[in-house]
C-alpha cells in the first residue's frame, strides 16, 4: 500500500509532539513554564471532558465544577486525612464523580423534558448541593484542606515537573478518549442525540445508555483532573473549588474552540488560558481583565461555532471543495431493476392486540387489534386525531403501551425501548422530516445503517448507505447538510435512512404530504420498489389516490379504535368510513 505523506504527516507530528512535551520537564526549564503548561493541560482536559457529553450530545452542563470538585476533595481527603499515597487516590477521584454522574443520569435521563436549559440548571443545582454538603460535613467542615504534608511521587526531576507530567498524561488520555469517542459508534450516537434524540432512539441508538456512558466518562475525567489539581493548588476551600466561573470558563473554552469537535476545546482552552496570563502585571491587571472580556466578546461574535468549524470551512474553500448547489427540479428515480412483486405471505409479521394508549385523560388508542402479513402494504387512514400517528409511535416504541400487546415476528415489543425495536427490524419515517441537521446526507444514512442493521464492518455500512442514497435519488448530495435539501429531497432522505436499517417492517408517516403531483408519482414508485425488496410496509396517508393505488389492505382508525379493515376499494366505499371522513352531520 502506498503511504501518502499527507495522511501520515499529522500522525508523525502528533507522535513527535507528544514525545517532546512528555520529556519537557527533563529540560529543566524554569518551573513557571512547567507550571503554566500544566494549567493549559488542566483546562484542556477539563473542557474536553465537558464536551464529551455537552458538546457531542448537546446536554449542556453547568455542573462540571461539581465533578471536578468531588475529585479534588476525594484526593485531598484520602491523601491528607488518611495518608493514602497520592497516586492511589486518583482512580478513586475519577470513580466517585463517575458513579455520581451515573446516579444523576439514571434519574435525569429518563425524563425527556430535562434537556436544554433545564438540564443545565439541574447540574448547577447539584453543584451547589454538593458544595454545601462538603462545606458542612467533616469532609471539609469550613476550614479547608491543606495538602502540604502529602508526598508527591518524584516522576520528574522537580515537583512541578511531576505535576506537569501527571497533567500531561491526563491531557493526552483525555484527548485520546475524545478522539476515540468521536470516531466510534458511541460518538456517532451522541452526535445524533445532539441533533434529535427521539429520532436517534428510533434509529436504534441506545440513547439512555450512551448518555450515561458519556456523562460518566465526562465526570470521571473531570474527577481525575481534579485529583491532580488538588495537589497543584495545595490548599482547598469549598468556595474556591466550586467556583461558578469554573464551569463558565469551561463552556467558553469549548465553544470558542468548537464543541462538536474532539480537539476544538483544546484550542479554546489553550487560547483562553494564555489570554488570562497575558495580563498579570500589577499595573495593568484591571485593564487587562477588561481586554480579556472584550476579546472574548469579539471571538464569540466572530466565530459563533468556534475555531475548528471556521477553519474547516476555510480549508474547504481553500481546497475548492465546495458543496454542489442543490439540483433544481424533481430528482429522477433510476429505474430499479424490479423483481416481480412478491406475493403477500401468510405469516403474520406484526400482531397488535388490544393496543391502548392513554395521555392523562385522553384515550388516544382504545384497544386496537391488527395483523399485518409479511410482504404486505397496509394503508392506515382515518380522520385527524383518530390515533394513526399514535399507533405508529407505539409500534416504533416512542411511547410505551398503556395496555395490550404488540409483537413483531412473534416477539413482544410493547414495552421495549425504541432502539431495541429498531434493532428488531422496525424502521419509521416522520411526517415532517427530522434529519440530523448537523450531519451530512451520507452521515445521516450511515447512522441508520450502523444502528439499525446488523453489525458489519464500516466499509460495508458505507457502501450500503451509498446504495440507499442512490436508490432514493440523492446521489451527488452525500456531503450536503439537510439544510441544503428541499422538502422533497428531505422526505427521500427519511426513506433512505429507514431503508438503510434493512427493516422487516417499515412505518411510513405521511411521506407524500406536501409533495407536488409529479413528486407523488415518484414517491409511489419508490415505495413499490421498497416493497419489492421484501419489506412489509404500514403507511399513514391522507392522499386517497396513493392509498388506494399502493395498499393491499386498508385499516381505518376512528377515535382510537379500528373502524374498518379490508381491500382498498371496498373499504373506501363503506358508508361508515365515508361518514367519519366527511363528518356525522353530513352523513346523516
Amino acid at each position: 500500500m502506498v503511504v501518502t505523506a499527507s495522511r501520515d504527516l499529522p500522525k508523525l507530528a502528533a507522535v513527535i509532539g507528544i514525545g517532546v512535551f512528555a520529556l519537557l520537564p527533563m529540560a529543566r526549564l524554569p518551573a513557571f513554564y512547567d507550571s503554566f503548561l500544566y494549567l493549559v493541560f488542566f483546562w484542556i482536559s477539563l473542557s474536553t471532558s465537558w464536551t464529551l457529553l455537552s458538546g457531542f450530545a448537546g446536554y449542556f452542563s453547568l455542573g462540571h465544577a461539581a465533578f471536578f470538585g468531588v475529585g479534588m476533595y476525594a484526593t485531598a481527603v484520602m491523601s491528607a486525612k488518611f495518608g493514602v499515597p497520592f497516586l492511589f487516590t486518583l482512580p478513586v477521584a475519577a470513580a466517585i464523580p463517575a458513579l455520581l454522574a451515573v446516579g444523576i443520569g439514571a434519574i435525569v435521563f429518563r425524563l425527556r423534558r430535562l434537556r436544554g436549559e433545564l438540564f443545565a440548571l439541574l447540574t448547577l443545582a447539584v453543584t451547589f448541593v454538593i458544595a454545601t454538603i462538603i462545606l458542612n460535613t467533616p469532609i471539609d467542615g469550613g476550614g479547608g484542606i491543606f495538602m502540604s504534608a502529602v508526598p508527591l511521587p518524584a516522576i520528574m526531576p522537580t515537583p512541578t515537573g511531576s505535576i506537569y507530567a501527571l497533567g500531561f498524561v491526563l491531557c493526552v488520555s483525555t484527548l485520546a478518549i475524545a478522539w476515540k469517542v468521536a470516531h466510534s459508534r458511541l460518538g456517532m450516537g451522541l452526535f445524533a442525540i445532539h441533533d434529535d434524540e427521539d429520532v436517534a432512539e428510533a434509529k436504534g441508538v441506545p440513547t439512555f445508555r450512551y448518555k450515561i456512558i458519556a456523562f460518566a466518562l465526562s465526570a470521571g475525567i473531570a474527577g481525575a483532573v481534579g485529583g491532580v489539581h488538588a495537589m497543584y493548588v495545595g490548599f482547598l476551600t469549598v468556595s474556591g473549588t466550586f467556583d461558578l466561573t469554573v464551569p463558565l470558563y469551561v463552556v467558553l473554552m469549548s465553544v470558542i474552540g468548537g464543541s462538536r469537535s474532539w480537539f476544538g476545546p483544546a484550542i479554546g482552552a489553550a487560547f483562553i488560558t494564555t489570554l488570562l496570563y497575558a495580563f498579570i502585571s500589577g499595573g495593568e491587571a484591571l485593564v487587562g481583565r477588561a481586554l480579556v472580556g472584550l476579546i472574548l466578546v469579539v471571538a464569540i461574535l466572530w466565530l459563533p461555532d468556534g475555531v475548528v468549524p471556521a477553519v474547516k470551512k476555510w480549508l474547504a474553500r481553500w481546497r475548492g471543495v465546495t458543496a454542489k448547489p442543490p439540483q433544481a427540479g424533481v430528482v429522477p428515480i433510476e429505474p430499479v431493476s424490479l423483481p416481480i412483486s412478491r406475493p403477500v405471505g401468510d405469516r403474520v409479521l406484526l400482531q397488535v392486540r388490544g393496543a391502548s394508549k392513554r395521555f392523562g385523560g385522553l384515550q388516544a388508542l382504545a384497544g386496537v387489534d391488527l395483523d399485518v402479513h409479511e410482504g404486505e402494504i397496509l394503508g392506515l387512514v382515518g380522520p385527524n386525531g383518530s390515533g394513526k400517528t399514535t399507533l405508529i409511535n407505539v409500534i416504533s416504541g416512542f411511547y410505551p403501551l398503556s395496555g395490550g400487546t404488540i409483537a413483531v415476528d412473534g416477539v413482544e415489543i410493547g414495552h421495549v425501548p425504541a432502539h431495541e425495536i429498531a434493532r428488531r427490524g422496525v424502521a419509521r419515517t416522520y411526517q415532517i422530516p427530522r434529519p440530523f441537521v448537523n450531519m451530512t446526507v451520507l452521515e445521516n444514512v450511515t447512522l441508520a445503517a450502523t444502528f439499525g442493521g446488523p453489525a458489519r464492518p464500516g466499509a460495508e455500512i458505507r457502501a450500503e448507505a451509498l446504495h440507499w442514497i442512490a436508490f432514493t435519488g440523492l446521489a451527488g448530495k452525500e456531503d450536503v447538510l439537510p439544510a441544503g435539501l428541499n422538502l422533497h429531497e428531505r422526505k427521500f432522505l427519511e426513506l433512505a435512512r429507514a431503508l438503510a436499517a434493512k427493516p422487516k417492517l417499515l412505518l411510513l408517516d405521511e411521506v407524500l404530504s406536501g409533495l407536488n403531483p409529479a413528486e407523488v408519482d415518484n414517491a409511489i414508485r419508490l415505495v413499490r420498489a421498497i416493497r419489492a425488496q421484501g419489506a412489509t410496509i404500514v403507511f399513514v396517508e391522507h392522499l386517497m389516490r396513493a392509498v388506494v393505488e399502493l395498499s393491499d389492505r386498508i385499516a381505518v382508525l376512528n377515535e382510537g379504535r379500528l373502524f374498518a379493515l379490508g381491500a382498498p376499494r371496498e373499504v373506501m366505499r363503506d358508508p361508515g368510513v365515508v361518514s367519519i371522513y366527511l363528518g356525522k352531520a353530513y352523513a346523516a
Binding site: 502540604s148 498579570i280 500589577g282 491587571a285
Partner: protein, 407 residues
C-alpha cells in the same frame, strides 16, 4: 532610626556593595539615595476577583514602603524594585506566578500574597526554592508549616486561645460581665477557626454559649439569623464576620427592633461599620489604630498621613490607615530589617537572622522564635465611639481618656 544602621553599613562595605561606602561618612540625617543594581522583590496580590477588596490597600501600602525604603538606604544600599503581579484571587494562579517570579523573573526576594489560600499556595513554592516569605494576613498560624515563612502581624501562635481570652478579660471589667453569648461566624476558614476557639474559651470560663451558628461566607439575608439571635438574647454577640456581613446583620437585628447588648466583630470592613447607625459601641479586633500610643511609634505619623493622601487619591471610601494596611507596612519593615541585618540577600541567612533578632515594626517589637515562627500575640480590641474606631483594650493601648464602654 529603628534600624541597626551602623552594623548595616559595615556589612555593606564588607559586601562591597556599590553606594554603601558613599553613605559611610555622611551625616545620619542626610542620606544618599541607594544606588547600584536594584534588589528585585516580587509578590502577588489579588488585584482582581473576589478578594480584591483589600488588595488595593496592600498595593498602596507596598508602594509607599518601597519609596520609603528607597528614600532611606534601600536594601544593602541598593534600591528596591517591586514587581507586583495579579493572582486574580485564585491560589493556582498565585502558585504559578510565584514560580514565575522566582524562576523566570529571578527576583532576589519575595513578599507574601494576601489571604490564607493564596498564601499557602505561594508558601509551597517558596519552600521548594528556599525563599523567605513574609506574609501579613494568615489568621491560622498553625498552617504556616514552612520554617522560612514569617508573620508580619502579631497573631501569636495560638490566636484561637489567646484572643478569646483578651475579649473575655475586657468583658470581665463591665459592671455586669456577660454570662451568656452567641457565637455566629462565617464559614471563612480564618473566621471559623477563631469562632471555634471563642466558643471553647467562653465555655471554659463559665460563659454560657447559647447558640453557635455558622453561615456560608457571602450569606445574603440575615433575617432568620437575626430572629434567632433576638430570641436567644445573649449578653454578648460574637460575630466572625468579613466585609459588610456585620452591617447587614446589625440592620437585620434593628428591623426586629433589637440591639445586641454587646457585640464583637472579627474582620469587618472598618469604614462602613464605624459609620453605621447600628455600629455604635461595636467591638472589633485590631492591631493598631491611628491614635496614641501607636502614633508615637517611629515613622507612624508620616506613614498615616501619606497613606491617607494616597488612599484618597485612589478613591478609597475609607482612607484612614488601619491594621490591614499596617500588615503590609510591617512586611516591608521586617524584610528591610532582616536583609540589612543579615547583610545578605541569601534566604538562609535572612531566615536565621529573623529567628534570632527582634524587629521593631508599626506593630511594635516583634520576635519570630516561637511555634510556627510566631512571637507574642498583640491582638487588641477597638470600639466604635462617635463614629470612630478607638482602641479600648488592653488598657495600656487605649489613647489617653479613651475607655471601654459597656453598652
Amino acid at each position: 532610626m529603628i534600624y541597626p544602621v551602623g552594623a548595616l553599613r559595615r556589612r555593606g562595605v564588607l559586601a562591597g556593595m556599590v553606594g554603601a561606602t558613599a553613605t559611610l561618612g555622611a551625616p545620619a540625617i542626610v542620606r544618599a539615595a541607594p544606588s547600584g543594581k536594584p534588589v528585585r522583590v516580587g509578590g502577588t496580590l489579588s488585584l482582581t476577583g473576589f478578594l480584591a477588596q483589600t488588595a488595593v490597600i496592600h498595593k498602596i501600602a507596598s508602594e509607599m514602603m518601597v519609596e520609603e525604603i528607597n528614600g532611606r538606604n534601600g536594601l544593602l544600599g541598593r534600591p528596591v524594585e517591586y514587581i507586583l503581579l495579579d493572582d486574580q484571587s485564585k491560589p493556582e494562579t498565585a502558585r504559578s506566578l510565584y514560580e514565575k517570579l522566582i524562576t523566570v523573573d529571578k527576583v532576589d526576594l519575595i513578599q507574601g500574597p494576601y489571604a490564607t489560600a493564596p498564601i499557602l499556595a505561594a508558601m509551597g513554592v517558596a519552600q521548594r526554592y528556599g525563599k523567605v516569605m513574609i506574609q501579613s494576613s494568615m489568621g491560622i498560624p498553625k498552617l504556616q508549616t514552612y520554617d522560612r515563612a514569617f508573620p508580619a502581624t502579631p497573631f501569636g501562635s495560638e490566636p484561637n486561645v489567646t484572643y478569646p481570652n483578651v475579649i473575655l478579660d475586657a468583658m470581665a471589667t463591665f459592671p455586669t460581665p456577660p454570662k451568656t453569648m452567641v457565637v455566629l461566624t462565617s464559614k471563612f476558614p480564618s473566621a471559623q477557626f477563631m469562632a471555634q476557639g471563642m466558643k471553647e474559651q467562653a465555655e471554659k470560663r463559665g460563659v454560657k454559649v447559647l447558640l453557635y451558628l455558622e453561615y456560608e461566607s457571602g450569606n445574603r439575608d440575615f433575617g432568620a439569623i437575626a430572629a434567632r439571635i433576638k430570641e436567644a438574647n445573649p449578653d454578648l454577640l460574637w460575630v466572625g464576620s468579613l466585609g459588610l456581613e456585620s452591617n447587614l446583620l446589625l440592620e437585620a437585628l434593628r428591623k426586629l427592633d433589637y440591639s445586641p447588648k454587646n457585640s464583637f466583630h472579627l474582620y469587618p470592613a472598618p469604614g462602613p461599620l464605624a459609620l453605621s447607625p447600628d455600629g455604635d459601641k461595636a467591638l472589633c479586633s485590631t492591631f493598631l489604630e491611628p491614635d496614641e500610643p501607636f502614633m508615637s511609634r517611629p515613622g507612624m505619623k508620616r506613614l498615616a498621613a501619606e497613606f491617607k493622601e494616597k488612599a484618597t487619591k485612589a478613591n478609597l471610601p475609607y482612607s484612614t490607615i488601619d491594621a490591614q494596611a499596617c500588615g503590609m507596612i510591617s512586611e516591608w519593615q521586617i524584610l528591610e530589617a532582616a536583609v540589612n541585618g543579615a547583610g545578605s540577600l541569601d534566604d538562609e541567612k535572612i531566615a536565621a537572622w529573623l529567628k534570632k533578632n527582634r524587629v521593631t515594626t508599626v506593630y511594635g517589637s516583634m520576635r519570630f522564635d516561637g511555634p510556627y515562627n510566631h512571637g507574642d500575640a498583640a491582638q487588641l480590641i477597638k470600639q466604635v465611639q462617635n463614629k470612630e474606631w478607638k482602641v479600648v483594650w488592653p488598657k495600656e493601648f487605649a489613647a489617653p481618656g479613651v475607655k471601654l464602654i459597656a453598652s
